[in-house]
Every structure is written in structure tokens, then in C-alpha cells.
Symmetry: C2
Subunit: 321 residues, 2 copies
């Protein structure tokens, strides 16, 4: 099969990669569309030391099991379902877990990917392929409200103007009226304003400790020090993006201002699908560039271009995206 | 009056320092006993850039106002009582605040200190001077349970074997049965075991992500990276000590393990006094070394000696300590 692999920090298209052999409980999925995520870009820079097929945001067709023939999306953490963490409901944190396209599990930038049947979610017909490929990051954005009581938040600031920032801003704005998004790219910020969300360029921002909630979606080590300059005493910083590099940061303000810093990762797929079906999120136009798997190099270049929003691979063609 | 001052990172005894002139609403206190805290040692190394009379843990006699003649302790944050933060109950985080012996407010290593009357608490007769001087750090230890729901904590580990670690361990052990204290000094750890608290030397510790709650009382930049190796996914790290230096730390685990990091500072004096009166804390023998103000140099040297626990200055003599 065709596949895009990471090997020694080198992203390469392979025209004839061995198809995945499903383990017990896994289902072989024919990938329809797969999206490039910030984490893929970090992985390509050495984060997690991953080697293998990249890709963890996808929609595809199940080829076996009870969902055969149906369109599905898959959660990325493949856990053992048996250890103390799994049994206590922390399956996403299973020590033995593999993570699709990130850790010891080949991913979805390929014709086929093997996913545990228990990780699959049916995609309703009302959700398009281009919406479905965003269910994974949308679920991650919705994880914030699982961890933080948003009802107590008077105002929030989102650092970053990228893909995840957009979904986080949409998710938080469902419950918090007063939201500001800070970014470096006027082109990307315009996307937020079209959703009715206020924005500012980083250089124009007033830096005051004035926000109950700061969400760091920068994917950069500069995000946390900035967040500490913006969060109110007793306020909350959500770290939404992982960074491969070490942080060098003065953390005394965390203690002095009694800040709560909350790491936030994968979220509830079921809720994401439900809210998408209910029309609560506007994902239209977020997929801006499409490539074939053969065009891996161009696609990864485009994914770091400020003109791009979501870059996807069309793997098999369906009637509509 | 006599006073111990910090000037350009130099701790000096002054035999004839000007007495403080109370501002409106402040009361002049004759200091009885004052204790050296880890923060004083950090200040002497340049933390906060403080210059002035050191000392924020004290018990003394009020010389004016409704508490005249009574033994009192004082909260360290002197706030404006008028700004939005003060009015919303965040007086300890007032932007205009001075902090006794720490920030723009002369402290209690002196014959007299000026404290806002609203910051004073009466010390009941059943609480000795040596207990009273520990009310400030005890309140800080009790702040943890104001910020974290300890009822949900199955097990906790305290990093550090010093003064604040001891009070935090005692505070947390009131609600959490399974507690371990990690330290570098057998002599200091023995103090915890006498209270029935389990201990381990740092070199003998098994490093596993096994704790619901990790409290960093190390006063060192090594505390947080160690805490991240010990906290369970979705667990909580409380940062209880400030560090003057920058942290260099890989924070990806905060996101991956969805950790909550909570900075914790000053706490409720009223609760500390109430629990001390009720005999819920054993502070006996914690004051190990006593000096006169003239012996500032020896006292500060002793405060970093592992053989010492709490080092205090006897400022005026009373019948008993």
C-alpha cells in the first residue's frame, strides 16, 4: 500500500509499504481523508522519537467487524483495557498504550490503518468527510470543558491562531462570552473574526494579568511565559499543545499568583460528534489544501504556511468531501 | 532600634536603625520572637530584589489600637482593600500590596514592626510564642486544602524535609492517610517519623508515576521535574516554594499526562490558630536554635544547617517561649 513514513526525522512517501496486520480486536480501515496536525510537525522534528507511518486524524471505511462498510473515526490511544489505569477510567493514560501515528502504532497517512474496534466511532451521514477528519482535534478542544468549570470563567484568552486554537476558541465560546484570540498572522486571525470571535495581533496586545483563563495553543515554548503575564491571580492556564523542547521559564509567578496550570490532551469523541450533528460548530472552509499521499513533501511544506489552515490527504475518493 | 537588614544581597545587623513610622491603619508591634524562613534565605540570594528589614514570621505585642498589650501575629500581605482584586476577596493578590519583610515593607527582624491592624490576629494564651511564630507557615501549609479537594486524594508524596514540608505533611495527613515524605537528610526525616509519617531518602526512592498528589517543598528547581516523574496521570502537583532561578524543564508530560500544577502561597491564619488551639498540630521541638538580633550572621548560617529546624530571634524576653 501507499504510506507516508517518518524515519530519523525524515518524512518520506513509500509507494509499496506493507499493509498493517490487525491485532486481535483491531479493525482494518480504508482511509478516506487524513489531516496533518501540529503534532505531526513536532514528530517530524524529533518529538517522541517516533518512527513509522504518520497520521492520527482520519476518517475511513471499516472493512471488518460490526461496523463493516460504515464511515468511522478512531480515537488515537490504543489501551490494554486491563491495567489499573484502564479499569479506573483512565484508558487514555494506559502505560501500555500505543498511540496511532505517534507512539508504536502505524498511523493513517496510508491506504489502510489498523484501529482497535473499541476505539471506533460511527460518523453520521450529516457529517462530511472534511468535518469528520476534524473530530479528533475537536474532541481535544472539548476536553478543556471536561477539566475546567467554564461556568466560573468571566473572560478567556487563546494564545495561537492555528487549527487547534480555532477549535478551542469555538468550544470555549459556547460557554464564555468574553474571548480574545492572540496570534501572529492577520490571515489566520481573520478566520476567527468571521466566527464572531475578537482577535488581536501579538504585537498589539496589552499585557496585563487580566484573564481568568488562558489557553496556550501556540505549540511553542514562548506560550507559557506569555500566559503567566496574562493570567489573573488564582486563574487557570490550560496547556493544550505539546512542545518537544525544554521550557526555560521563571515559575515563581505560578506560586506567587497561585496559578493553576492544567495539561489537556485528548477528548470525548462522542460529544464532538453530537455537537457537530447539532450544528454547534462551524468547520466550513477549515480544510484549505488537499494533496495525494504521493505529495507528502509539498503537503508538509504547506502545513507550516500561514496561508494554509487544515491540510489533508485525499486517500480514497468518495462522492463528496 | 535594632534591626537586621538586607542590602544588595548582604544581611547586616544594624544597632541603630530608625523605628518604623506606622501609616494610617497600621499598628506598631513590639516583636517578641521572629523566625527565619526559606524565603528569607532566597531573598538574601536576590529573590524579589528586596532591600530593607527582613522577617515575616513573628509574634509580638501590639502597642496601639484595640489590641494594645495583646500578643498578636500578622498576615504578611498588606493590601489596599479598595482595588477590584481586594473587593473580590483576592486581597492577598492586591497589585498595590506590600509584603512584610519581602516587598516594600520593613519586616520583623527588629525591635518593632508596623503592621496594618486589619492583618493582625490575636494569639490565645494556650499558644506559646514558639508555636505562634509558626502560625504564618502553618497557614501557608493549610492553604493547600483550600485549593485542592483532599477528600479525593488516595496518596500523597511531599518533596523536601524542611520546615514547610513538615507543616504541609502534618496538614495533609489530617485528611490523607497514605503519605510519604522524601528528603536528603536523615536527621530531618527522623522528625517526620516521630510524627508517625513515613519517609524515604531521595536516593532510595522508587520513581514511579504513582501519586495522586505531589507537594513540592524543595525550594529548588529540581523539585518540579521530580514531581513530574511521581505524579499519576490527571494527578496534582502543588508548588509550595518559590525559587529565584529560572526552571529548565520539559513540560510535555504536563500535557501528555494531563497534570494539574497548582501554585500555593499564603493561607488562612484564623484556621491555623483554631487548629493549633484544638491540639491538631504537634509543633513541639520545631524551634531548635535561638539567637539575639545581634547574632544575625550566625543565625542565617545555622538556618541552612541540616541540624537546625526552625531558627528564631528572641527579640524581647517574655516569661516563657
Amino acid at each position: 500500500m501507499r504510506a507516508i513514513c517518518l524515519d530519523q526525522n525524515d518524512v518520506q512517501f513509500h509507494p509499496d509499504f506493507p499493509s498493517p496486520v490487525p491485532l486481535q480486536g483491531e479493525v482494518l480501515i480504508d482511509v478516506i481523508v487524513a489531516g496533518i496536525c501540529e503534532t505531526d510537525l513536532q514528530l517530524a522534528q524529533g518529538y517522541m522519537g517516533f518512527s513509522g507511518v504518520l497520521g492520527h486524524e482520519f476518517v475511513g471505511l471499516a472493512t471488518s467487524g460490526p461496523l463493516t462498510g460504515a464511515r468511522v473515526v478512531g480515537e488515537i490511544n490504543c489501551n490494554c483495557r486491563n491495567c489499573p489505569r484502564c479499569r479506573s477510567g483512565l484508558g487514555n493514560h494506559c502505560v501500555e498504550r500505543t498511540v496511532v501515528g505517534i507512539h508504536q502504532h502505524d498511523g493513517a497517512f496510508a491506504d489502510q490503518v489498523a484501529i482497535p474496534q473499541s476505539s471506533l466511532h460511527l460518523v453520521p451521514d450529516t457529517i462530511s468527510d472534511d468535518q469528520a477528519v476534524l473530530i479528533e482535534p475537536l474532541a481535544a478542544a472539548l476536553q478543556i470543558q471536561q477539566q475546567i468549570e467554564l461556568g466560573e470563567v468571566q473572560n478567556a484568552i487563546i494564545l495561537g491562531d492555528g487549527r487547534l486554537a480555532n477549535l478551542c476558541a469555538q468550544a470555549i465560546s459556547q460557554q464564555v462570552e468574553n474571548i480574545l484570540v492572540v496570534g501572529k498572522h492577520e490571515l489566520k486571525l481573520a478566520r476567527f473574526r468571521r466566527l464572531g470571535i475578537k482577535t488581536t495581533l501579538l504585537n498589539d496586545m496589552i499585557t496585563e494579568k487580566d484573564y481568568d483563563l488562558v489557553v496556550d495553543c501556540t505549540g511553542s515554548v514562548t506560550g507559557l511565559p506569555l500566559a503567566l503575564q496574562l493570567v489573573k491571580p488564582r486563574g487557570t492556564i490550560v496547556m493544550k499543545t505539546t512542545v518537544a523542547a525544554d521550557h526555560q521559564v521563571a515559575l515563581a509567578p505560578v506560586v506567587i499568583d497561585e496559578i493553576r496550570v492544567v495539561g489537556s490532551r485528548c477528548g470525548p469523541f462522542g460529544l464532538a460528534i453530537e455537537l457537530l450533528q447539532a450544528g454547534r460548530f462551524d468547520l466550513s472552509g477549515l480544510v484549505t489544501h488537499r494533496f495525494g499521499l504521493e505529495e507528502a513533501e509539498q503537503a508538509f511544506q504547506m502545513a507550516v504556511d500561514p496561508a494554509a489552515f487544515k491540510v489533508v490527504f485525499d486517500v480514497i475518493s468518495t462522492s463528496e468531501n
